[in-house]
């Protein structure tokens, strides 16, 4: 059997198992969905502001479209792997996983993708209904849809490996969940989840393109709204890909060094 075929079989087995267990958590997934509804609160506030006319170039329907798509992007890129790593490393639950003939990261990736497969239909329904109700029209072209899909995957890759890398710091300290909270607070604002980034003051907007944050929410959203096309879209792919690769490589390095420490503790 070729390596590729073997890996394909392993991957499929992991996914099928993860999907079966995730469908058991349907009700929880709905609650986690609701707990990510802060962009909808912001939407209500901005719509209230735009009641007497456009604010910063956005009419009420534009805000509705923007924040509903923000909600969609954040739902499709939800990552919780740090809580798993924090527990597994501190309590030694990682040990049995090390005996398996596959790197534990792929099990987490499978869990995540399976959860997204369950979540996607649950999320699409309210978002589409909301867009229709608010009278927001999206320019659905192959370019905007394809670009959006790829950028959402890219955003998920950045978030997943950023959290995986942070979680692996548990090999050295038990405060990683606190560190993740710091990252979360910053990324919430600077990714555009609370206010459209083009309304930010000039000073902040100048720095943002040099950080990974806009690529987590704002950039995919702009693609679906049809405001990112042609060469700009290609550039967004490239920069987002570079960030994803950086976090991926970082997490591999941390894993290699951390796993030696884990053995040294005798867990």
């Amino acid at each position: 059997m070729t390596t590729f075929a073997a890996n394909w079989r392993k991957g499929r087995a992991l996914f099928v198992h993860a999907f079966a267990s995730m469908t058991e958590y349907r009700a929880e997934i709905v609650i986690w969905m609701i707990s990510g509804s802060l962009p909808l609160v912001m939407m209500a506030m901005w719509i209230g502001l735009a009641a007497d006319g456009p604010v910063g170039g956005y009419a009420a329907a534009d805000f509705a479209a923007y924040f509903l798509v923000v909600f969609l992007v954040r739902q499709l890129t939800v990552v919780w792997v740090i809580w798993e790593l924090d527990r597994e490393i501190r309590l030694g639950e990682l040990s049995p996983k090390l005996l398996r003939p596959i790197d534990p990261v792929w099990g987490h990736v499978a869990d995540n993708l399976a959860e997204k497969a369950v979540r996607l239909p649950l999320v699409l329904l309210p978002v589409v209904a909301g867009l229709w109700w608010a009278g927001a029209r999206l320019p659905l072209t192959p370019e905007s849809l394809g670009g959006f899909a790829l950028l959402v995957v890219g955003a998920w890759v950045i978030k997943f490996f950023q959290q995986y890398a942070t979680g692996l710091l548990t090999f050295w300290t038990d405060q990683t969940v606190g560190l993740e909270r710091v990252w979360f607070s910053v990324s919430m604002v600077l990714s555009g989840a609370l206010a459209p980034l083009d309304l930010f003051p000039e000073a902040v907007r100048g720095v943002l393109p040099y950080t990974p944050f806009p690529y987590l929410v704002d950039v995919p959203v702009q693609a679906l709204l049809g405001r990112l096309a042609g060469p700009d879209l290609l550039q967004a792919f490239a920069v987002q890909g570079a960030w994803g690769l950086a976090f991926f490589v970082g997490s591999r390095l941390l894993w290699r060094n951390g796993i030696r420490r884990y053995g040294a503790v005798g867990a």
Binding site: W32, I34, M45, L49, V55, M188, L194, L199, V204
Partner: protein
């Protein structure tokens, strides 16, 4: 009463000693609260570069409201979450049996046994934001502070009653561990005055989930714009909900059959 105060002090000291093990957490949380404050202020700034007011509130009033939001959230995290999130587990594992045997009210132990002391810095920062906001509005007087204190007590009473009632449903539904997630989602709307939202959202936040009484009303007290009608309503809502949650708790205990017997 004095006996309960003494017991609460022992509970709190115990939590404090436990949390002192994790001193770095204290600083991380303080830093995080500062970051949250900074990012919320940035959002407010963005909003106010586009508009002169949100829902008729000035920047200083909105800032005071942010302080109230932080304070209520802080009280939740320090005092409510560590206690009430354990209730489903008490019921599921039958641990409630031991609490019922103690010679003090079971509701008291269930509600006060633990405290997450590491989040205390948030309470201090929140108070500072409120005071700065009031000073900038020029409403920093004994009268306004007194009314603010009363409204905050009513808000915390309302919050506690609702959350306690929700967790009490664990007696029938057992798995309600995620109730706090739901609550947090709705409470997030409290970072802006309810008048900032479109009409039906405002109605929802006032009459269905009483978020308006948790942050908007206390912030109005601080701004000196609270009418007596709303002040009375806030106290009334708190009293009625507390009484209702107590009735539900007694009913739940009466139908409790224990998991271990």
């Amino acid at each position: 009463m004095r006996r309960y105060l003494r017991i609460w002090r022992i509970f709190f000291t115990h939590s404090l000693i436990q949390d002192l093990e994790y001193r770095l957490n204290w600083w991380l949380n303080a830093f995080n609260t500062l970051l949250f404050l900074g990012s919320s202020a940035l959002v407010l700034w963005v909003v106010f570069t586009q508009a002169d007011a949100i829902g008729g509130w000035t920047f200083d009033q909105a800032l005071t409201l942010l302080g109230v939001y932080l304070l209520i959230e802080g009280v939740t995290v320090v005092f409510l979450v560590p206690n009430l999130n354990r209730v489903p587990q008490y019921v599921r594992k039958g641990e409630l049996d031991y609490l019922l045997l103690k010679p003090i009210a079971a509701r008291f132990i269930v509600s006060t046994r633990y405290a997450s002391v590491w989040w205390v810095p948030q309470l201090g920062l929140a108070l500072a934001v409120i005071l700065v906001g009031m000073a900038r509005q020029g409403t920093l007087t004994i009268g306004h502070l007194g009314l603010l204190a009363l409204m905050l007590v009513a808000a915390i009473g309302t919050l506690y009653a609702v959350w306690f009632a929700l967790t009490t449903t664990a007696f029938w539904f057992v798995k309600v561990d995620n109730v706090s997630e739901l609550f947090t989602a709705f409470f997030a709307a409290g970072r802006f005055p309810v008048s900032a939202y479109p009409g039906w959202v405002r109605a929802l936040l006032t009459f269905v989930v009483p978020v308006a009484f948790l942050t908007t009303v206390p912030a109005e007290a601080a701004a000196g714009t609270l009418t007596w009608g709303w002040a009375l309503a806030a106290v009334g809502v708190a009293v009625v909900l507390l009484a209702a949650s107590q009735a539900l708790w007694r009913y739940a205990l009466a139908s409790y059959t224990s998991a271990s017997s």
